[in-house]
């Protein structure tokens, strides 16, 4: 009860709308997909379920990025790495589930290891036949990496552009590493050809609908956790760090601890998003680590509205919807549109769609009532 109160106490109007809509989607989409016959106008196609499920995991990733960028000013160009690591952990579980059904029918080793003439399972793969262990790793691997990385980076006061660049170096280095066959994660091709998850056929429509609902639930939980963090007292300090880091430190707060906490939580959220992404997409390969992916995540958040949480999820959905539409309609035009979006949003919509909308809504309210004098927004450094 305490926990529920803690999670639900501070939710604003946008948050309630967001949660209610998601809750409806979590129930309605599987029902419309499975129970309504394909001919009906209310039927949700299998493709749509897969696509929207993917958007939900992207939205969770965007939420994670917004938590560190929007509320703590850490612009991570490497969140794709945590996403991909979570995805790999899930992928490894799914690979072990294939068992002897692979092309080479080896009882233990995945196909690519047989192909490389390996005879034993590498240590990194031990235990991944167990689902709880895999779940633990989904959270632990990105969390631990983020903790170690953040421990060093925040203690040394690596900030701003420098931090962004080394997070980019981090994901780039991981991409190069995962491309190597010797790493034992499938090299170039990554992990694919999954058969089932917890005994359920991963291709079956029921499994896919359940995965969709789980993704929605994960997104809702992620939102509640993030919202609880940013509205807590610690959240106030995070915002203080974002706006004037040096001043916060001079006031006696251990800036690096707050940063490390939110950074690690965010990485775990990204890892969970990746773990939900992989069974729905059916493949994970090193290109998920590519720096371009991480930067694209940033633009989702920027489009939706930095520092709004709901906006980040909204932005992820909108941009990816646009991407799907563009790559179908004008494949040539997508990079123009995406590039233009980066420029347009930074120049004309610094607060994103949701931020701008909220401002407009407030101003409308203020026009009716006499405006209260607001303190200067610009922080002094």
């Amino acid at each position: 009860m305490m926990l529920t109160r803690f999670l639900f106490e501070k939710i604003d109007r946008a948050g309630w709308v967001f949660l209610v809509l998601l809750g409806i989607a979590a129930v309605l989409v599987p029902v419309l997909n499975l129970a309504v016959p394909p001919g009906s106008m209310f039927h949700v196609s299998n493709t749509a379920v897969g696509l929207w499920g993917k958007y939900m995991t992207y939205a969770l990733l965007a939420l994670a990025v917004d938590l560190v960028w929007g509320y703590c000013g850490i612009l991570s160009l490497g969140h794709g790495a945590f996403f991909a690591l979570g995805g790999y952990a899930m992928g490894m579980y799914l690979m072990r589930q294939i068992g002897p059904r692979g092309v080479y029918s080896h009882p233990v080793l995945p196909d690519f290891m047989v192909f490389l003439n390996w005879t034993e399972l590498p240590v990194t793969w031990w235990g991944f036949s167990s689902f709880p262990y895999a779940l633990l790793m989904v959270a632990l691997v990105p969390g631990l990496l983020a903790f170690v990385f953040g421990w060093f980076a925040f203690r040394s006061r690596v900030t701003g552009v420098y931090l962004s660049i080394i997070t980019q170096a981090l994901t780039y280095a991981l991409m190069l590493a995962f491309f190597r066959n010797d790493m034992g994660f499938g090299g170039n091709n990554g992990l694919t050809d999954f058969k089932d998850i917890l005994g359920f056929n991963i291709q079956s429509q029921v499994t896919r609908a359940v995965l969709f609902s789980l993704s929605v639930i994960a997104l809702m939980t992620g939102y509640l956790v993030a919202r609880a963090i940013v509205t807590s007292k610690a959240g106030k300090i995070l915002i203080a760090i974002r706006d004037a880091e040096a001043r916060t430190r001079f006031l006696g707060y251990r800036v690096e601890n707050f940063k490390l906490f939110v950074w690690t939580v965010s990485a775990v959220m990204a890892g969970i998003a990746g773990a939900l992404y992989v069974p729905q997409v059916g493949i994970i390969n090193p290109s998920e680590f590519s720096p371009a992916n991480s930067i694209e995540t940033i633009v989702w958040v920027a489009v939706g509205g930095r520092g709004t949480l709901v906006g980040a999820a909204l932005g992820a959905g909108l941009v990816n919807f646009a991407k799907s539409w563009f790559t179908g309609a004008f494949p040539q035009g997508w990079l123009f549109a995406l590039g233009g979006l980066f420029i347009f949003v930074t120049l004309f919509l610094p607060k994103g769609i949701l931020g701008t909308f909220t401002d407009w809504w407030k101003r409308r309210g203020e026009r009716r009532e006499p405006p209260a004098s607001s303190p200067a927004r610009q922080p002094a450094e």
């Binding site: 060093f152 040394s156 190069l176």
Partner: protein
């Protein structure tokens, strides 16, 4: 061991023959080939061997065709007057002595061949090359003897050494002789040890292989000398290898320097990481392509100068695009460094896609001017001309930029803005002009880098992407606001990369470097050469 020298009498014969020939070596050159050729008109194999050796060392221009004909069984003689002819492949005959066509040859007998003769022929062909007028042929012949250690070539080698005027080829021949002597059990121990000395002076992998494969019956003293020589060679080779790695490292470092230096300037002055920097490099490379296309259709004779025309063009094109980006976008994002990063990333996507739609997604062919192709050796270093040109070019760009920043009024203003923007503004410097100009300058230099990179990399829309992360690494490693930092950063990363490659492989080496930089940044969050003072926060 060679078969020819195994029988003592034969060795004596051959040696005596060569000793005699060496005395007359020079006069023989001008001598008429007739008497030499006539000696082939015999039934005795020993005499034929003698004739082959005699002709081979004579330096006569008839030697090669006659010996080749003998090898192919086309050398015949008329018993009546002992005249020797070459039967050509079409059945006609020419005089072996003069090469003039001969008619009415009559009955002839072929000059006979057995294994001894064939061996003599093989040695003679080698010896002929050793005496060939073309230095390249002589060089390759000497190298071949060195590698084969063919004892039968010894005599010819001695002759050739006596006649050789080119010091370099002479050294090669002496090395070849030493190689034969070292492995020859009949040679005196002192000679063999002296020969080891000569081989040690050569000091390459071949010499090492030579000393490592001595015959089993080699006396211990010779063996010891060979081993200590091997150790010495290995030591020198290790030094040379390190030198070669340094060279590759400098080459890579200068590429990184070219790519990163513009980035460092804009970052230093404006605190802006320009994610579209790589695309400026790419645009420079495409400018080179367009310039070369134009030259090809308008004035093909200027192809060798194409790069010199492309350089200012690339600078202007990339610089103009840079100024446009600054005026249209970055100007409005002043004080929001992180958001600039996003906007310039957007610009980079647009530019990439624009080039892709314009020029197509495939690689474009850029011609390398003749003066930039080829390679040469300095000691044991292999140096390619295009790499050398890029190193020199990078050094020139660096020096020019340094002079510009230190010696011109604009450089002074730029440095002032780098150190303290508000103070500089208060002193009357128009900081927004400096910004625009600096951004244009940084982009222009990226364009220059593109011209250089078009010579060693594929010109494709993704060209810039390959360098952008490396350039960031150089900048954050070297620190901003100081060109020397960028130089040191680029060279350190380039050389470290090349030294790691042999041990860790190219990819793992790169990963190790990235990890190193991530750790390094923890230690020095503002890079090697950080600006000090209040302005940095």
């Amino acid at each position: 061991m060679n078969q020819t020298i195994r029988r003592p009498w034969q060795l004596a014969l051959v040696t005596a023959l060569f000793a005699a020939l060496m005395l007359f070596a020079s006069p023989l050159r001008a001598q008429d080939a007739g008497p030499l050729v006539q000696r082939f008109a015999t039934e005795s194999f020993n005499d034929i061997v003698g004739a082959v050796n005699g002709l081979a060392t004579s330096g006569s221009p008839r030697a090669a065709p006659v010996i080749e004909a003998l090898r192919d069984g086309r050398l015949v003689y008329r018993q009546a007057d002992r005249t020797v002819f070459i039967r050509r492949t079409d059945g006609s005959f020419v005089s072996a002595a003069t090469g003039e066509p001969a008619s009415d040859v009559g009955t002839t007998r072929p000059v006979r061949l057995n294994n001894n003769v064939r061996r003599a022929i093989d040695a003679a062909v080698g010896a002929l090359s050793l005496l060939h007028p073309d230095p390249a042929r002589r060089t390759s012949a000497a190298e071949a003897v060195f590698k084969s250690r063919d004892g039968s070539a010894l005599a010819a080698l001695e002759t050739a050494i006596g006649q050789e005027r080119d010091a370099r080829i002479k050294t090669l021949m002496e090395e070849a002789r030493a190689a034969i002597l070292v492995a020859n059990p009949q040679a005196a121990e002192a000679d063999r040890i002296a020969a080891i000395g000569i081989i040690q002076r050569r000091g390459d992998q071949d010499a090492l292989a030579m000393l490592g494969s001595l015959p089993a019956d080699t006396p211990p003293r010779v063996r010891e000398a060979a081993e200590s020589a091997s150790v010495a060679i290995r030591r020198t080779l290790a030094v040379w290898e390190a030198g070669q790695n340094v060279w590759y490292g400098i080459s890579l470092g200068s590429v990184l320097l070219l790519a990163a230096i513009g980035l460092a300037i804009t970052f230093g002055v404006m605190g802006v990481i320009n994610m579209a920097h790589g695309e400026m490099v790419m645009i420079g490379a495409y400018t080179t392509f367009v310039v070369q296309q134009t030259i090809r259709s308008v004035a093909p004779g200027l192809m060798d100068a194409s790069l010199f025309i492309a350089l200012p063009m690339a600078f202007l094109v990339a610089g103009a695009i840079g100024v446009a980006i600054e005026r249209l976008i970055i100007r409005h994002l002043y004080g929001r460094a992180l958001e600039t990063l996003l906007a310039t990333w957007g610009v980079s996507l647009v530019l990439q896609q624009a080039v892709r739609s314009w020029f197509g997604p495939t690689n474009r062919e850029v011609t390398t001017p003749s003066w930039m192709s080829g390679s040469f050796e300095v000691g044991h270093l292999a140096i390619t001309a295009n790499r050398l040109a890029i190193i020199i070019f990078a050094a020139m760009v660096f020096a020019a930029l340094l002079l510009f920043l230190k010696r011109t009024p604009f450089g002074l203003q730029t440095r002032a803005v780098t150190q303290n923007r508000r103070m500089a503004g208060a002193m009357g410097i128009r900081t927004n002009w400096v910004d625009a100009f600096t951004f244009g300058l940084g982009s222009g230099i990226a364009g220059l880098a593109g011209v250089a990179l078009s010579q060693i990399d594929n010109v494709s829309p993704n060209l810039g992407q390959g360098y952008i992360i490396d350039s960031f690494m150089v900048v954050v490693f070297g620190g901003v606001g100081n060109l020397w930092g960028t130089l040191v950063g680029a060279m350190t990363l380039g050389i470290a990369n090349k030294f790691l490659e042999p041990y860790a492989g190219a990819v793992l080496g790169k990963i190790l470097l990235l990890v190193f930089i991530i750790l390094f940044i923890q230690k020095r969050p503002r890079g090697l050469f950080a600006l000090k003072g209040r302005a940095v926060e």
